[in-house]
């Protein structure tokens, strides 16, 4: 009779541990975001090392703009790179109308506004649940359509430039703490580009996006 009791206790302890870990993680995430807001620095730990992404100074802003411009000229000069309009035309010929996706997105957004208005004035828990689920399903549909559109336009010059500017910004502002001094992680953009630790780069990019483009729902 004692054994099962012990098992239940162990299970409960594990459950409490899980919950405690979750609470701790949420707390760390909250503290991290509070630091970012307070001090314009996104700090994170990775493999027991401290990293951060900070705001650019004016000189660095100029460097980012110059790098973006140089890359744009390279893409325009090179005939293998095409614009978004070109890719829209190509996809339309292949039976994927991106303009229709845009129209569908607008229609769903309008419907969502109506549903949100209804949710605001709903009183019964059952109605609130039903409307919440409906809105969440519309949001999922919006994400699906945006993903489809982004996927189809990923090779367009406009998208390539956006990606490059984000990567370059990240490379420039990404620092590691060494003996209490913050130093740039990569000496050259090429080193950043060649880095095969995708988790580290992913975290750095996420921090850059949070700092620089905070009104993006996707982050």
């Amino acid at each position: 009779m004692n054994e099962p009791k012990k098992d239940i206790k162990t299970m409960l302890d594990e459950k409490i541990d899980e919950k405690a870990k979750e609470v701790l993680l949420n707390f760390q995430e909250l503290k991290g975001i509070e630091t970012l807001i307070q001090d314009n620095k996104a700090i994170f730990t990775y493999k027991e090392k401290s990293y951060r992404v900070r705001m650019p100074n004016q000189e660095e802003v100029n460097l980012i703009n110059d790098a973006r411009e140089t890359k744009l000229i390279d893409y325009i000069k090179d005939s293998k790179y095409m614009s978004e309009d070109y890719w829209r035309k190509i996809w339309k010929e292949k039976g994927v109308d991106l303009d229709l996706i845009d129209a569908e997105l607008e229609e769903i957004q309008d419907k969502m506004q109506d549903l949100l208005f209804r949710l605001a004035t709903a009183n019964l828990p059952a109605d609130i649940k039903k409307l919440t689920d409906l809105i969440e399903s519309k949001k999922a549909k919006v994400n699906e359509l945006i993903f489809k559109k982004t996927d189809k336009l990923q090779y367009a010059i406009e998208q390539r430039i956006r990606d490059y500017a984000n990567f370059y910004t990240c490379y420039l502002l990404f620092e590691e703490k060494k003996e209490d001094v913050w130093k740039q992680v990569f000496d050259k953009y090429e080193d950043f580009d060649k880095c095969n630790d995708s988790s580290l780069i992913g975290k750095a990019l996420e921090s850059t996006m949070r700092l620089m483009y905070s009104n993006n729902e996707a982050i």
């Binding site: 909250l30 208005f117 949710l119 605001a120 919440t132 620089m212 905070s214």
Partner: protein, 110 residues
């Protein structure tokens, strides 16, 4: 919890609502930097202002807003849509009312 949810949670917290009010009334700083406000800080200030107005609505006993709604991002978004639509409707009604009154005045004077 997503980044956006945490940002909104911080913006509606008593700590940052007080900081926001003190910044408005006495010019005290919310952030460590005085200048070069980042996009993240701008967006945070936007949400501080939104929640500040919602706390005012709650204090005025406005319909459809309460603590439960404030702590739910989706329901807060819903209330903001409701607020915008009813405010626009009130504006339209006022315009219409003004138009009718000016019409009536015209009748009196002619």
């Amino acid at each position: 919890m997503s980044y956006m949810s945490i940002l909104r949670k911080l913006a509606r917290s008593i700590k940052y609502q007080n900081a926001y009010n003190n910044a408005e009334k006495f010019g005290l700083n919310i952030f460590k930097n005085k200048f070069d406000i980042s996009d993240a800080q701008n967006y945070f200030l936007y949400w501080c202002a939104v929640y500040n107005s919602l706390y005012e609505d709650m204090a005025m006993n406005e319909a459809y807003i309460n603590e439960e709604v404030m702590n739910n991002d989706l329901r807060t978004d819903a209330y903001l849509v409701y607020k915008k639509r009813t405010r626009n409707k009130k504006k339209d009604d006022k315009k219409e009312d003004k138009y009718i009154r000016s019409d009536m005045d015209a009748v009196v004077f002619t």
